[in-house]
Symmetry: C2
């Protein structure tokens, strides 16, 4: 790959959402020449990138033409045109994460097969082609059906309690997973650069909003035994070694009530579960991803202070121009960092921003998180 | 002023250099709609702001037309057209810092008069109109002549050792300051919002490169007595209260060998002496400036870890397309943050970037700073 040693180094990002914006911020510190491709003219990155290209990252020609004059391409969303990336790679453009890994992760069926093949612990599963096939697996219910492709942020997931639920199930290629009676959901972010150096961040624990089926809050250190922490990091490292990915990988895992750690799913990019690293760690996940793909030594993942991250979702019942309520109140709290993504339109449960709270004491951070949740609203 | 409560809030920044870029980064977290005016089409901000306007911030019409549709205007350089800002202010656009304060600070003569009038300790001075007048003050030499206007980064300053130096002195309105036999140069950053809330950062101590007459390195905590630290903060707070500035103010000071603290000069904006706050403090100077001008509660200025900041200057004897040497080596050091400004052309002593080093132990940070200085080069 071309070595990064000047401000003429051309980095392209597929996707211009909030993850792209948070990746852009440290990229600004490296003085690289950034181009971004996104179909939304009002996407968070569109306001902050001179070389913002309007177009679909799913379209072969759009991605190919976007990428052919760049030195390095990365992603902030995995739902991109892999064929175009493969051609770019073949023509000498560096693409990290590698297109074949994006392709693997785009398909939950292939992801599961990968775990199985490499002895990575995960919940038992079946691959099915359509709704009709589900009938034969009644003994598996309750179970979870997940679309093989294009699931995102809780979409594409359906819980089948009994055969009566089948009319509402997906009639597309899916996986059927055993329902895991888990105790906790955790995530480990791990990065690997082209030289093979690997570093993991500390485990984060997630709390979900059952209504939105989205992470409502996450925190670190996770409230788990040291042994589980180690096991989770080992598994995440193992996944990265087996994949040989270059870049950041988010490994979401279940901790079962019997203390098993099972991989749930992967994201080959900076991830919602690592927002807190911006203020809480020596190196943020975004900078770590940049270091990995630029083939620089990885940064320290040391946690400087315990942290809680709260997602700011558009309030239920409000659609329209976003209004932020409570900025003054939460700005009074020390160690509370507001991140608004600058999306002009709010919708129920749309990710409009997040708040990270750091404190020497995790309980204090939780108290502040409660104030943030009670005080800060996004309405229209 | 219009209250900031949506992403339609329009913030304008006069100046698109590195300070503007570092102000833009936290502005991205507030989701505000940012416009930037700068005469250089390749200025650091030009690549990262959709609403980048090419034009002179010294030109009345350019500044007026840039600002008339904005909600709030601020600066990253004080050398701007104040008359246009006054008109904008009269027409209802909020301008912070206030134009009359920018005007005062633009003129070192008025700055000095302000100190005198408000009993703010500073070195004795005279105002002179031209070189001719200097002849009458021979008894003052050695002394320092400073241009009243447009001095910047060591330019516009001339040391007069004896009457023999007069042919090389400035023949313009200047101040003639007594030469201060100082022990240290320090700076205090202090912010004030429109509600009158004031917060100071800890004192930073500066080390100058005698050849470039530029800050080479700064660190905090400063190696000064607690009493001097308190006195410096008191003076900085006093200046801000007397000015009633809204925004951030950098107060550069001398500590004399007899323990006096004298104000040297002011900058009504984020400042080189506060770069380290990005990683070393709970709130960065850039975010603090935003909070102040948006009239939000100010953030905690707590120093999270001791820090050293090294300016990265273009190496002597190199002019042309900048090449960065040593990125790999310095990226191996924990707690070392590279900030490249993305300027494509390097020149001797041009500010091309900076590195901040944080460490629990200041001496360790100095050791890493030494490695950075010895390893990282900007050549062409």
């Amino acid at each position: 790959m071309k070595t990064f040693n000047s401000s003429n180094f051309k980095l392209g990002i597929l996707g211009g959402g909030q993850l792209g914006k948070m990746l852009l911020q440290p990229a600004m510190n490296y003085g690289v020449d950034v181009s971004i491709l996104d179909p939304d003219p009002a996407s968070p990155c569109s306001f902050f990138c001179k070389n913002f290209h309007l177009g679909s990252f799913n379209d072969y020609n759009t991605v190919y033409n976007f990428g052919r004059h760049l030195d390095l391409i990365t992603i902030e969303i995995e739902n991109v045109n892999v064929e175009a990336l493969k051609r770019l790679e073949a023509e000498g453009v560096t693409v990290y994460p590698q297109p074949h890994i994006i392709e693997l992760i785009q398909d939950k069926g292939l992801q599961k097969d990968f775990y199985k093949e490499h002895n990575i612990p995960t919940s038992p599963y079946l691959k099915i082609q359509n709704r009709e096939e589900l009938k034969y697996y009644e003994e598996k219910f309750p179970a979870v059906q997940k679309l093989r492709k294009a699931g995102y942020d809780g979409r594409g997931v359906f819980k089948i309690n009994s055969i009566d639920d089948l009319p509402k199930s997906f009639n597309e290629p899916s996986i059927l997973e055993d329902l895991i009676d888990f105790d906790k959901e955790i995530a480990v972010l791990v990065a690997r650069n082209a030289a093979g150096e690997i570093k993991t961040f500390d485990v984060v624990e997630m709390e979900f909003d059952p209504k939105a089926n989205l992470v409502e809050l996450l925190f670190t250190p996770a409230k788990i035994d040291e042994q589980i922490e180690l096991k989770a990091k080992e598994i995440a490292t193992d996944v990265v070694e087996k994949l040989k990915i270059v870049g950041l990988l988010a490994v979401e895992m279940f901790v079962t009530k019997t203390g098993q750690v099972l991989v749930n799913e992967l994201a080959p990019r900076p991830h919602n579960s690592g927002h807190h690293t911006i203020e809480a760690c020596i190196t943020s996940q975004y900078e770590q991803h940049l270091r990995a793909i630029l083939n620089l030594p990885l940064g320290s993942t040391e946690l400087r202070r315990p942290a809680v991250m709260v997602n700011l979702l558009g309030e239920d019942d409000f659609v329209g121009e976003a209004k932020y309520i409570g900025i003054n109140e939460i700005s009074k709290l020390d160690g509370v960092y507001l991140h608004l993504y600058g999306k002009k339109i709010t919708k129920p449960f749309r990710k409009m921003g997040h708040v990270t709270i750091i404190d020497h004491n995790l309980d204090n951070a939780f108290e502040k998180a409660k104030i943030v949740k009670d005080t800060f609203k996004i309405q229209a």
